[in-house]
Symmetry: D2
Subunit: 314 residues, 4 copies
Amino acid sequence: MVKSFKYVKHMRLKSGMSVGDLAKEMSATGVLGAGKIGEASRLVTEMFSDPDYTVFLTLSGALVPAGFRHIIHDLITDEYVNVLVTTGANTVHDMVEALGYRHIIGSFQAEDRRLRNENIGRIGDVFIEQKAFQALEKWLYKTVEAIPEEKRRRISGAELLSEIGKRIKDKDSILAAAAEKNVPVICPAFVDSIAGFQMWMFGQDKTLRLDPFLDTKTILDKVYDAKRVGIIILGGGVPKHFALFANTFREGVDAAVQITMDRPEPGGLSGASLEEAISWGKVKPKGNAVTVICDATIAFPLIVAAALENLRKK
Amino acid sequence: MVKSFKYVKHMRLKSGMSVGDLAKEMSATGVLGAGKIGEASRLVTEMFSDPDYTVFLTLSGALVPAGFRHIIHDLITDEYVNVLVTTGANTVHDMVEALGYRHIIGSFQAEDRRLRNENIGRIGDVFIEQKAFQALEKWLYKTVEAIPEEKRRRISGAELLSEIGKRIKDKDSILAAAAEKNVPVICPAFVDSIAGFQMWMFGQDKTLRLDPFLDTKTILDKVYDAKRVGIIILGGGVPKHFALFANTFREGVDAAVQITMDRPEPGGLSGASLEEAISWGKVKPKGNAVTVICDATIAFPLIVAAALENLRKK
Amino acid sequence: MVKSFKYVKHMRLKSGMSVGDLAKEMSATGVLGAGKIGEASRLVTEMFSDPDYTVFLTLSGALVPAGFRHIIHDLITDEYVNVLVTTGANTVHDMVEALGYRHIIGSFQAEDRRLRNENIGRIGDVFIEQKAFQALEKWLYKTVEAIPEEKRRRISGAELLSEIGKRIKDKDSILAAAAEKNVPVICPAFVDSIAGFQMWMFGQDKTLRLDPFLDTKTILDKVYDAKRVGIIILGGGVPKHFALFANTFREGVDAAVQITMDRPEPGGLSGASLEEAISWGKVKPKGNAVTVICDATIAFPLIVAAALENLRKK
Amino acid sequence: MVKSFKYVKHMRLKSGMSVGDLAKEMSATGVLGAGKIGEASRLVTEMFSDPDYTVFLTLSGALVPAGFRHIIHDLITDEYVNVLVTTGANTVHDMVEALGYRHIIGSFQAEDRRLRNENIGRIGDVFIEQKAFQALEKWLYKTVEAIPEEKRRRISGAELLSEIGKRIKDKDSILAAAAEKNVPVICPAFVDSIAGFQMWMFGQDKTLRLDPFLDTKTILDKVYDAKRVGIIILGGGVPKHFALFANTFREGVDAAVQITMDRPEPGGLSGASLEEAISWGKVKPKGNAVTVICDATIAFPLIVAAALENLRKK
């Protein structure tokens, strides 16, 4: 079974070491979480450096509220990420910041009844003022109204988000960057977001018909066009499933990195292993895949910074 | 702070005791997981017994594959559950069983490459043959074709599932029961399911345009009509968020039971506490809410069986 | 790979059903958490009914504070459990209750600075007054003083706890029941408990020398004498490891049930799978073993009540 | 409640950035996991730079097998850590490496029955050959025999480990470094380790009487002598409890960093929050404390490397 052994190499830490060096030390252990960080850094470097790769990034969880806006923006602008599949919420929080509202450092121990009275919504230990969403509603109304009615008769979530992105002035916006770089922002459950409910209200007055099957087409086009597919999955949910299932149409992705705190045991897709994904044809039998059981706000910046450093050295 | 103490009562187990008796013993501890089971049983009993309650049940995770089909079916048929909000997958697996395919007892340690070769998909330790989905595709094509084209020009996910439900002959089917009892099956991310992809293909040939905003309307109608709202959340994901956010339109639900293995720390909505939901107006400040950190396949049958027993005794 | 399939049977719930019936329904699913509850019930029934089994029960976590006192007491008194391996804390909380102090239903959201001022210690959502430990100290001083000095010159944790147990008058006490039934209460890290620190203080004045190797001998005697070994592991920690490692001296246990919320990924022993235990000779290669990923306060009462019902039917 | 807001600052990643820079970016978010890493880095920097601090490091879980040997060794040698409280296993794996045996990069999916046949033990995805423990047994026998018998009549775990450490030639050994630097290695459950069982066997032939209360004294001496106490808790278990409870004798630690994947909900001490620790007087009411919910093999190297960089800049 174990013919020639490969040994765990102990990490050595140095003051001032680069993130790439740290990832290399972790990689050399080859085991447990640190080893997975090493393997994930290697795979992400491969996805980012090989032009044959179409890279899907899926987002679930409060990543924009958590401080991921620049990271995702830069990955799109620098053309490392080619398709974004996300919850509606992450687009909402990008828009809200584009309007000048900020996420607030709060606390898990906050008194929620009091926050309610003060019109503050809580996301873990992040706070956001409700007035941000009121401003969003007004802005979104005008912005979507400015999209030609013809287009609004049948529009995909991705087109709608692209049209919105084109009209965002904030240069740090993820949606703006995606619109500029023609990176589709696919949001299969866009209706399930604050903006989704606001768009429903818009649709009471004005023309707006979302056609979610157009999003299916958009993602499948990307799948069919790809020479190789790499996927980075942050959290699970609909974005994970939609992106992986779309890739069954090409016999699976070639490389996959999943960062999640969910586990397989309760049976949900969010915690499903990438091994399981092989059985469905979502990941190629010979594909490389690694799951990092870690808070994405810790693991993802570490992995990306290491990959960027590796790229420079290539 | 603690003026008059309420004490932990130690559980006493007896051979042959009923599930309701066990839940009562758990309830009397008042603490940790057992205490939460007790509190959840009490809340579910209240939701099920008070006719003023409109009860929302949200499903995420592999509940139908896990053996929940009769439980959900019966809760609908017996009119305890009034609105179902679900992932597409649970509807797919209900349909597949209605066609005579069965879920197979598998293993977490299965070799996924081999399963792939044998055309078996794995969900945790549940297996399912891919041919079930091929049969589904054929059946779904004919079934949806039988829906008048006029209707197919603009249809909500809930209507589509209701039309499908009407055409299912299996008396154990959740969709069939829901159609019969006029319980809307709301699936905000229906496109993100095997049936969703199959319906996209159908739409290449035939008329089919989903309008997801109609689902928004459907859930909001239920929210506006309700005197009181109770919600039971199994897992998290889009179903949890969509159902809770819809209830902000009436200042929040009155009673909520959440069963999940997700936790608040990583910041995702799936693991968000029901306290946090108060800050958003999803749960009323005076609402009763309990989160049970447990595998839903263990906790939910226990809680429901206890509630059913309590109902009989009322 | 999968030649003859065994199918998932959907659970059917009935008002008034017994816990054994519920466990049977869960068992018939064969998958995920419910399936594991079924398998665990079967294994515990086997351990409890076959007189060849020596049954080890290991306790970590706040089980006595959580309301497990009667359950553990009764399993000892009814001779289902033959060896108890535990953290010191569970013995401390048993003693404190024997002195008439009670655990209080508290809250996870308590203000801990205020509790500190009010001399209340918090364990999750359980409170306990510090005066209970002051009373314990006095009582323990006198009680241990009453043990003949000769014995105190070299005593194992198990003997010390047995001597203490003999002097407890409360008929609900776990230690008293264990002393009466000659069930050793093995506590390899007894010094790491409030009573352990109190015994250290006792040892400043009076003779008391613990010899932890005597506990090694005690557990190994049980291991060597056993025809078959069954082990039930609640939580992980030192009790899990000590009991499992001792059983490597007989090539492993025959049957094992582990209930824990810990997972294998971070590499700690507490979350280690029972499969891993096979590699160490802790579980026999042909042994039956099941891990239930669940809060023990929920799963254990359910499993035990089901097993007791099964026993009656045998 | 929220008068003047502090805002989440989005992370900016740069190729070649140092670990300290990454930690600073994480710190500036102020929220979720990344924010906790930032706070933990700040606290560890404080502990390591202020000479008034006595720093306790507690180890649970497979840290030495996971590649932590150099990190812990260096923290001792560079005098950042003053007291080590550990499971026996981490000392065993340090000794085994000192004897020239290495930990092997294995797999979570290994076939454990086969590993058993090949005399390989598995710890998560780390393998170790059983012959390492046979060699340990021989070496330990001779090594402990070389300790003067007088000392062996009554010896603490810490003294025993110090005597062993003095006799280790490998300059990378944690035990050797600790012996040289007079850092006590406190192991309250030493009997619960492979070496503990081997020492029990030694004690069948030769004189060896462990007195665990001497470990209590050793840790309390450190507690009483400290001007300020900082504690870094990796994993939970007996090491966490013993170190924290000892600090109740000085009204609690001043600063605490806990890295764990365990959570409070099931009620065990391993997952208990550091807030809860305030109620017991383990952490000072005004103490600074942060819990990072993360795999320690990822978070700890990141935090330590950042702290070392901060120290240099001071």
